[in-house]
Symmetry: C2
Subunit: 245 residues, 2 copies
Amino acid sequence: MPVDPRRHRAARHAKPSAQPAAEAAAPAPRKKPITVERITDAALEVVATEGYDALTIRRVAAVLGTGPSSLYAHIVNKDDLDDLLIGRLYAGVVLPAPDPAAWRAQLLDVYAQIRDLYLAYPGVSRAALAAVPTNLETLRVGEGILAILLAGGIDPRTAGWARDALSLYVGAYALEQSLVRRRRAEQDEEWVLSREEVVERFAALPAERFPHTRRHAAELASGTGPDRFAFALGLLVDGLRPAAD
Amino acid sequence: MPVDPRRHRAARHAKPSAQPAAEAAAPAPRKKPITVERITDAALEVVATEGYDALTIRRVAAVLGTGPSSLYAHIVNKDDLDDLLIGRLYAGVVLPAPDPAAWRAQLLDVYAQIRDLYLAYPGVSRAALAAVPTNLETLRVGEGILAILLAGGIDPRTAGWARDALSLYVGAYALEQSLVRRRRAEQDEEWVLSREEVVERFAALPAERFPHTRRHAAELASGTGPDRFAFALGLLVDGLRPAAD
DNA sequence: CGTCCCTGACGAACACCGTTCTACTCAACG
DNA sequence: CGTTGAGTAGAACGGTGTTCGTCAGGGACG
């Protein structure tokens, strides 16, 4: 049995039943052995250049110059690869030391980091939304966000729920934004629209069925992606009131 | 050319350049011809019973007792099938007559309908998040939501952005919820956890790296899905203030 | 009535996907 | 030197979306 990648996977998650985990420091590989490290690198490269939809086992194997079956000695699954990927991504999130005076700004900053990460790797937010929540790196970021909220005087239960809501929104926002950009990139289809076209099309709707969409077409199409992002996060964050001010 | 399903697709969306669209009312099909209607029915049935992941062209064709290629005379794409699906789903959403005195409750009611729809057809929210926003049925529901917000005195631009944010959150919520339920259904894996197990695992995290997650494990795992849904929607909706009260 | 033609249905096939089976290489160890 | 076992792969299986070429059948027309 080739070391059983399931064991490696377990080590990347909150431990089910504290095992000391047999230490095995591989000392000096000679040529270029396939490692979880290199697989993750290759996967990240694929996602960065071609988007998450292009992230297939075969594509990653091709980057490493081998066949698909070679990866299965190191990863369990495609799901496992996704897990590796978002672990690596979240490892890059820098968490501020919680400052009770600036908790809102700190929160917005961390989520802006996550958003930019998602947008830099188009489509990964899909994997992030589907990720098992016990990945150690996502737990680390979650702990950091929780720390900021608690420092802001938010009670623990509310903080946990707010963290959930914010994470869900950011994931969905990035997913939609990635889809829009992809559609814009494949502009061979006629389904991509400029802002003016959207306004025009809304304004052309039958007045009796779509009076408001018609009348306010310009306002509906207004605002850039980041504007809408800031608006939604503001709504969520501003609704949080420190307990016993 | 077999009628070109692209034309049918276009008819289901906000029109790009108002064409009268040649009327062709097929009067009396004799046996059981394949229609867009029947394809949509079959697709809905598959999703309801086996989830969105099981929705494949072949699966739908099998329900109709034919091969996969037969569908391509009526639909353009798998994407088109998704479009049909969410159009049908949204057609079932009932929109209240906007009441300025009850706009918050009306808003929550409509989004609860959408949430329940998504949860009744596990995974469809993925298709909904990816849907082209010009589908006529989604436009109809969007118009209804907009009407409620405007009746509540929200200014048009804010209303549009709020509608976006709410829709994104509801979609992401339903997606995550569907995934959780699916994982719970395939409990052969050890990656499914009861609430007690989650608390236990959080409490077992290293104290120096995860102090808050550890201490507030119970609060973090508290609350049912609907609780968290209501909390997040409350946060978003309560942040909206009628202009010039 | 006979013929044509066009529309919808469909089987086969293509390229790709995740995953598994099996064989093979090759360094480490007794 | 012989054995072992971990890591590397090639081939294959069953699945996916989509396209191609064929074919039946019925309405239109001479």
